[in-house]
Every structure is written in C-alpha cells, then in structure tokens.
C-alpha cells in the first residue's frame, strides 16, 4: 500500500520540488565564485511561477508537435522520476523499472524537443536541434556502456537491484571508478552544462539547448525549463544512488527515510557544488572539441568493462 501510493508521491515531490532549488544553488555558487552576491536560491521557483502565469505565443506555422512537446518532455521525465531509486532502494515502478527504459525515456524527450525545434522553421531552432542530436549520439553510447558496466558487475539492469547490491561495497572497485568517471562526463553533456553547452548563453553561435527552446514561451517554456531542471537532478540521482548509495533506506521506515533524505541532500549538494566549480573554472569548448570530451568518456567506459573482465 505504502509502496503503491506514498512512495510515488514522495519521489515526485522530491524530484520535482527540489530540482529548481539545485539550479538555484548552482547559480548562486557560481555567482559567489565570480564575487557577485548572486540571486536567491529560490529564484528558479519564482521564474517558473511567473512563466506559468504568462500567456504563451505559438508560431502560426507550428503543428501539433510543438504543443505536444512540452508535455511529452515533462511527462517522460516524471516517469523516469518513478523509475530511479531516490530515498529508498525500493522503487515505485519496480515492476517495469529498468535502466534501459530510463535511457530511452531521456531519448524520447530529446527527440520531441528536436522535432519541435524544427517545427517552427526558425534557423536557430534547427541549428540547436542538430547540435543536440550530434552530441547525444556520442553521449548515449558512453552513458549506456558505463551504466551497463555497473549492471554487469551487479548482475541486473534493474536500478533498484543495482542500488541494493552496491550497498555492500565499502569502496568502489577500479572498474566501477572508471564507470563513475565516464558517467560524470556524460552527465555534464546530457544536462547541457559547461564545458559542453552553456545554459546561460543566448549567443546564436554557441547555443545548443537554448537554441532548441527559443520559440517556446509561457507555460510551455515553464514545463521545458522545469523538465530540464529535473533532468539534471535525476542524472545526479542516478550517479549518487548507483555509485555511492551509502545511507539510503532499504525499506520504507520513517526514520530510515529521514536519514536517507538528509544524506541525499548532502550528496546531491556536493555534486552540484562540483558542477559549479567545473563551470566556473573551464570555458565552453569549441563544438568540434566536444567529440574529444565524449570520446574520453567512451574510452573510460570501454576500459571499465574490459578491465572488469580481465582482472576479476
């Protein structure tokens, strides 16, 4: 009963509720690195609220895809939120929950975004869409390989089982460490952060994700922005709960969940802080250098799998 009703609500609330906060946190830290005071931690919430209240303008040439895209993206991310273990290693949608489904749901959202970017016929949209697809075609194999390595080591593609199994590790094995490094690079690319994409830029030559969503406004923009915040949080959650699941609640007891929640906040906060450091200390790389970065991630993932087989 609890698993069917409370846990799904809890996960949705945590993911959807906390995700703008993470974005605000990163922005604030970066501002401090630049010796600015920075906006409030809750600024992303205000932005979303404002966008929801505003009217949406839709291009006359746009088809139904354009309107459907924000909902598809948002819902696919929400479904993913049900598939990954957040506070407890038990997962609401455990019956179907599988890491391959997670990766494809991400791909679905991105597919619709790319379609809608072409839909309005704006030049920047198409450019952003094509870049996004190029990057994802390189990021996805690396992501899959690194996730599969974890799956192979633990003998399951079910995220809940993986988390459960990883609880027994005191220290990451070298192979898992390589996977962790590979996944960390991929997450930066997938979430569109520096050095792959600059989430703040609206300069036509450098936009990737922002280029795709340039035509959206009002509540549609709000949904997409929110979805992208959630995407970052979910990616970090996967990283945290597959590689460093210490302290996560195994069952659904109240004290366990409380402890787990605080640890979760700390771990996610730590990685968000790392992202802020990386974004402050590196410049966005040229588009043609991105394959280099993702190739590194791919090589690390391949090494992770093969070293696991050779040295075991």
């Amino acid at each position: 009963m609890i698993q069917l009703i409370i846990l799904p609500i809890l996960q949705i609330v945590v993911i959807a509720g906390l995700s703008p906060l993470i974005k605000g946190f990163i922005n604030n830290i970066e501002a401090r690195f630049q010796c600015r005071k920075g906006s409030s931690l809750f600024q992303p919430y205000y932005n979303l609220a404002k966008l929801f209240r505003k009217d949406a303008v839709i291009s006359e040439t746009a088809s139904w895809i354009f309107i459907a895209t924000p909902y598809v993206t948002f819902v696919s991310i929400l479904i993913i939120a049900l598939l990954v273990p957040v506070l407890s290693s038990t997962v609401p949608a455990n019956f179907t929950g599988d890491v391959i489904l997670v990766i494809y749901l991400f791909a679905l959202g991105r597919f619709f975004l790319a379609l809608s970017s072409l839909d309005t016929g704006s030049a920047f949209g198409g450019m952003g869409g094509s870049r996004e697809m190029t990057i994802s075609s390189m990021a996805e194999p690396a992501m899959m390989l690194s996730v599969f390595n974890v799956a192979i080591i633990n003998g399951s593609t079910n995220l809940s089982n993986i988390t459960q199994a990883m609880l027994s590790y005191k220290l990451l094995s070298p192979s898992l460490f390589l996977s962790l490094a590979a996944l960390a690079i991929v997450i930066i690319a997938e979430a569109g952060r520096i050095p792959v994409d600059n989430p703040f830029t609206h300069l036509e030559l450098t936009m990737i994700h922002e280029g795709m969503i340039l035509e959206f406004s009002g509540r549609y923009l709000a949904l997409i922005e929110w979805a992208s915040c959630m995407k970052l949080l979910i990616l970090l959650t996967i990283l945290v709960n597959t590689f460093l699941p210490w302290g996560i609640a195994s069952g659904l007891t109240f004290p366990g969940l409380i402890v787990s929640f605080f640890l979760y906040i700390v771990k996610i906060g730590f990685f968000a802080f790392l992202i802020a450091i990386v974004e402050s200390s590196f410049a966005k790389v040229r588009l043609f250098r991105i394959p280099n970065l993702l190739g590194t991630s791919f090589v690390l993932a391949v090494l992770a799998i093969i070293t696991h087989y050779i040295v075991s």
């Binding site: 990451l172 070298p174 390589l178 190739g295 090589v299 093969i306 070293t307 050779i310 040295v311």
Partner: protein, 221 residues
C-alpha cells in the same frame, strides 16, 4: 632477515585508476597547459599511493621517496615546464600527427594490450592490487605513444615523464620501490634530463623559430 610484506589495498587500485584517468586526460586535451596539469595531478596521485604503501608496508624509506616525488614531480618539474612554455611563448595548442579521437582510441588499445599482456603475470600475484602492474605498463606505453605521435618538443618531454611515472609506479606497487639510493639516482637523472631538454626546447626555438620537431629533418641519408 626475511620478511614478506603484503599490502592488500583496494585504495591503491583506485589510485592507480585515477592515475590512468589523468593519463587519458593528458592524451585527450588539446591544451599544453592542461597536459602539464594532468602530469602534476598524476604525480600527486602517485605520491599519495606511495605514501599509503609506505604506511601500510611499514617500509619507512618509501616516505622519503614520497617526499621527493612531491617536491620534484608535483612542484619543480611542472613549474619548470610552465616556465619554459611561458618563456618560449609557445602557442598553447597541442599538435599531433593523429587526430585526437584517433589517438584516444589508439591509447585505449594500448591500455588494453597492457592489460592482456600482464594477465599471465598478475594471476600469480596473491595481492588484491591487480590493477597496478597493468596500469603502470599502460601509462608507460601511452607515454611512449605520445612521444611518437606528438609534434611539439615539449609534448615529447611530457611523454617521457609519463613513461617514467609508469615505471616508478610499477616499481612501487610490485616491489615496494627500488632501493633508496637507486631511487635517489633516478630522481636526479629525471630532473637533470628534464632541465636539459627544457634548455634544448629553448635553444631549438631560438634557432628554428619553432619547436615543432617536424622541422628537425636536416640530418638524414
């Protein structure tokens, strides 16, 4: 006096992997300064590993090598390389005979070769540190590979340093380091050779107006 000290530590293995990642960073980056940073980071991890091995094995002379590693490899050599880069005014991009993606894949292949080649040897090892020998050989071979494929004189120095790091780690993880006096001699040689090479980078830049070693082809049959 016979003593068999066995250090079983997964920490060392993880540090080894971190060194490997630093080496891959060295291959994949296009900036000369990042390459030097990668070297400094790898040397720092090496020093950490050596400190842990010294602590676990109780062979205290390894602490001395740890200290020297910190001073020479983490501070002096990177500082000297940065100084040379600044002094010579090198364009800060790495140039390679192969494209970056290709050299990444090649070094991935080289690393796998190192793993496969050492497989029969590491099966005899009773320790948990099974990644150390293959990774040290991998770092050595990748260093060799960069020496072959990179165009700039200074990247060749970095390749050489990578080879030396790999060997140092091999000695450390398989035999708890060489005798102290040998280690000291090796450190001295490495330091002097880097300085001499640095001086030659400077001189070559002065006479050839470039440190691209592709220009060095006057002497041949």
């Amino acid at each position: 006096m016979k003593q068999h000290i066995i250090v079983n530590s997964q920490t060392i293995d993880v540090l080894a992997v971190m060194m490997l990642i630093a080496t891959i960073l060295h291959i994949s980056t296009g900036r000369l300064t990042t390459c030097v940073w990668a070297y400094a980071i790898r040397s720092f991890i090496l020093a950490c590993a050596s400190g842990i091995i010294a602590y676990l094995s109780g062979i205290y002379h390894i602490f001395i090598t740890t200290g020297i590693t910190l001073v020479i490899k983490v501070v002096i050599i990177p500082w000297f390389l940065f100084y040379i880069i600044k002094k010579v005014g090198i364009k800060k991009e790495v140039e390679s005979f192969l494209s970056f993606t290709l050299s990444l894949l090649c070094s991935c292949g080289v690393i796998l070769v190192a793993y496969y080649a050492t497989e029969p040897i590491i099966q005899f090892e009773s320790t948990l540190m099974k990644h150390c020998l293959p990774i040290s050989i991998a770092i050595t071979l990748v260093g060799f590979f960069t020496m072959i494929t990179r165009k700039k004189a200074i990247t060749q120095i970095l390749g050489l340093l990578a080879m030396e790091d790999g060997l140092f780690f091999a000695a450390l993880s398989t035999s708890y380091g060489m005798p102290l006096i040998v280690e000291l001699g090796v450190f001295f040689d490495i330091l002097v050779s880097v300085i001499i090479m640095g001086i030659y980078v400077y001189r070559i830049k002065e006479t050839f107006e470039s440190i691209d070693i592709g220009f060095l082809k006057e002497l041949r049959e």
